[in-house]
Amino acid sequence: MDDAALVMRAQAGDCSAFDELARRHRRVATAMAIHLTGDVVGAEDVVQDSLAVAYEKLGGLREPERFKAWLYTIVRRMCVRERRLRPRGQVALDDVPEPAVSQDMSPLENRILTAMNDLPRSYRELLAARYIGEMSYQEMSRMFGVAEGAVRVRVFRAKQRLRRCLECLEREASEASRYELR
């Protein structure tokens, strides 16, 4: 059953249909939240809250086939809210983000993680929508309120920026290893 049919069933009061929608989109929504907040633990809470908001507002969704884009818009807004509400300088123990570098990941993956965290928010959002949400430029143009042509340019710039961050980190890594060899 496609998303639109599930949305219509959920709007008619079928809770298991919403359950299925949540199950389908949760992992992608979590990946998006991790990317946008840079916090693995906090991302889970953001997604839970986003699903709760989606559940509450589902009745107002006029185009059921747009559920995915709609849910990701909620996740994106909740991430912005989460970042805004996060106290500066002092954070609760529960809110301490996961370390940016993980022992389980390859050096390349760790560099990607660091580069992602270094990107400006607008670029993070574009890459999250394109890479994680697999949204089309048309869907992104609706989500961000800009023309499709502008989405194409901005997505390119975001990818380019990620590439530059990575090149920078790769250079630093190779210089560090050369220094260690001496």
């Binding site: 809770c15 990946a31 693995v40 509450e56 194409r152 390119f156 380019q160 990620l162």
Partner: protein, 312 residues
């Protein structure tokens, strides 16, 4: 990029499947002749793949818990429904559906009795409750508990209790069984006397005398069936563990009894290891046991004195 942003932008859009047929043809032709753009395309493909690998790994680890919907949203959603013409149709449809569901539930409950209301009597740290229609929340005031999140999906069973790092919860079921849920545990209440342990540690102290029904803790490997007992079941990387402090427990797999053991009051605790294939071994007490198992023995001190449990 030596060819400039125009080609770079086209290469990026090509990978996203967003070019018109004409642009696509031109870009593919350009890539076949331009090394710089071709290398740029390969790097973008590599970046995307690594980007998704990193996030998927993190997301898969984070998105394993059940979906929990806070009660306040559910309340707001249900309050909103039922107003206006369109909503009144939904309300009528909902009532009809509710009647049908009620009849179905009433019929099914005759075969599969619902969970009797129990009580979450204590909790600390991070505790999530799902569908706690089956569990009355009455946490002692002053305990440092993060707000519980309660689903409102309306399904009668199962009820989940999940504790995070540093969290713990004690649930007393309607028949007086006391279920202690240690940190980092995920437990499902299939009914008042049937729990399913996904991960972590759960200890049960059952009323004495027990009702004639069995009390079962199921795991992926086997069922632990108790008859008038104080015991703990632990799931860790090495498999499953049973710490039997008092009473009788059967270890059962596919309706076949693997072990039946009774520990009298005053006798030392019995410790069993069950592999994921269902092999059961009795293990002597030693300080090299996994910390979760030692923790179960130590935390049982309030229920059964340590000297009695360890035969010292």
């Amino acid at each position: 990029m030596s060819c400039g942003d125009t080609w770079g932008e086209r290469v990026s859009a090509l990978l996203d499947g967003e070019l018109s047929p004409d642009e696509e043809r031109d870009t593919v032709r350009h890539l076949s002749t331009c090394r710089a753009c071709s290398a740029f395309r390969d790097r973008l493909v590599g970046d995307r793949s690594a980007f998704l690998t990193v996030l998927n790994r993190a997301a898969s680890a984070a998105a394993t818990a059940p979906v929990l919907i806070p009660r306040k949203y559910a309340a707001a959603a249900s309050a909103r429904r039922g107003w206006g013409r369109r909503e009144s149709w939904y309300l009528a449809a909902g009532l009809a559906a509710g009647l049908i569901v009620g009849l179905v539930l009433a019929y099914s409950s005759r075969r599969n009795p619902p969970i009797d209301a129990g009580k979450l009597v204590a909790a600390s740290g991070e505790v999530d409750l799902v569908n706690s229609a089956a569990v009355t929340i009455s946490v002692s005031p002053g305990l440092p508990v993060r707000p519980q999140r309660v689903t409102s999906f309306g399904q009668p069973v199962p009820a989940w209790v999940r504790t995070g790092p540093g969290g713990a919860a004690v649930v007393v079921t309607a028949d007086g069984s006391r279920i202690e849920i240690a940190e980092d545990t995920q437990l499902r209440f299939d009914s008042s006397d049937h729990l399913t342990l996904d991960s972590g540690r759960v200890s049960a102290e059952l009323p004495d005398p027990r009702p004639p029904t069995e009390f079962v803790i199921s795991t992926a490997a086997c069922d632990f069936v108790a008859v008038g007992t104080v015991f703990s079941v632990i799931s860790n990387r090495q498999g499953y563990w049973l710490v039997l402090e008092r009473g009788q427990v059967l270890v059962r797999r596919n309706d076949r009894e693997l072990v039946s053991r009774q520990v009298q009051t005053g006798a030392p605790a019995a410790i069993y290891h069950v592999s994921s294939e269902g092999r059961v071994d009795e293990v002597p007490y030693s300080s090299s046991l996994p910390p979760e198992v030692l923790g179960a023995i130590e935390s049982g001190g309030e229920r059964v004195p340590a000297a009695e449990r360890l035969g010292r």
